[in-house]
Symmetry: C2
Subunit: 79 residues, 2 copies
DNA sequence: TGACATTATACGGGTAATCGTATATACATT
DNA sequence: AATGTATATACGATTACCCGTATAATGTCA
């Protein structure tokens, strides 16, 4: 899953959290942050610091990864 | 390339920048930040904000990606 | 509807990121 | 060595993250 802004990051966090049946407060505890912060991040309201991003992903058993930008592929719906 | 802390992120940025034969000031301009900030980030001195991370990676034609954490693989050196 | 659980928002305070700018340090080339 | 180039560091100012805490808003379910 590729991330281009805060909103997309928040969506990924929320989906992953719900998939694991965690409440915001549960994820917050695992990542050592506030429930309020999880809420703000999931809503794309803030630009979290890198270490916060990593802590939250770790709590969700996910990794941050850097990849070469994918070239736009042919999209038949555009024709 | 997986990223677990600020230092690892900085290393990836520096390597990618050098591979593209860019100076810090060049990358800074492309990402709309200061040369000093590129320096600090490459040295792992700060925890950049997510939008800053994304801007810099975009300037390097790279994407931030979220992936499931890889399971630990069998490591023969531990036996 | 009422009670409970979950999420979103608010406030003040502390700290860190980022800025513009300037300079110091390190590196390279002649 | 001297000059030019690149990177690292410094400084004060501004912005924004993150905190603890509390509460408002929303959702759920009997």
């Amino acid at each position: 899953m590729t991330i281009r802004n805060n909103k997309e990051f928040g969506e990924v966090v929320r989906i992953a959290r719900q998939k694991q049946k965690l409440r915001q407060v549960d994820l917050a505890r695992k990542a050592s942050v506030r429930q309020a912060l999880i809420s703000e991040i999931e809503n794309g309201a803030i630009s979290a610091k890198l270490d916060t991003v990593i802590k939250i992903l770790a709590a969700l058993d996910m990794d941050l990864s850097i990849v070469p930008r994918k070239k736009a592929e042919f999209d038949p719906t555009e024709y």
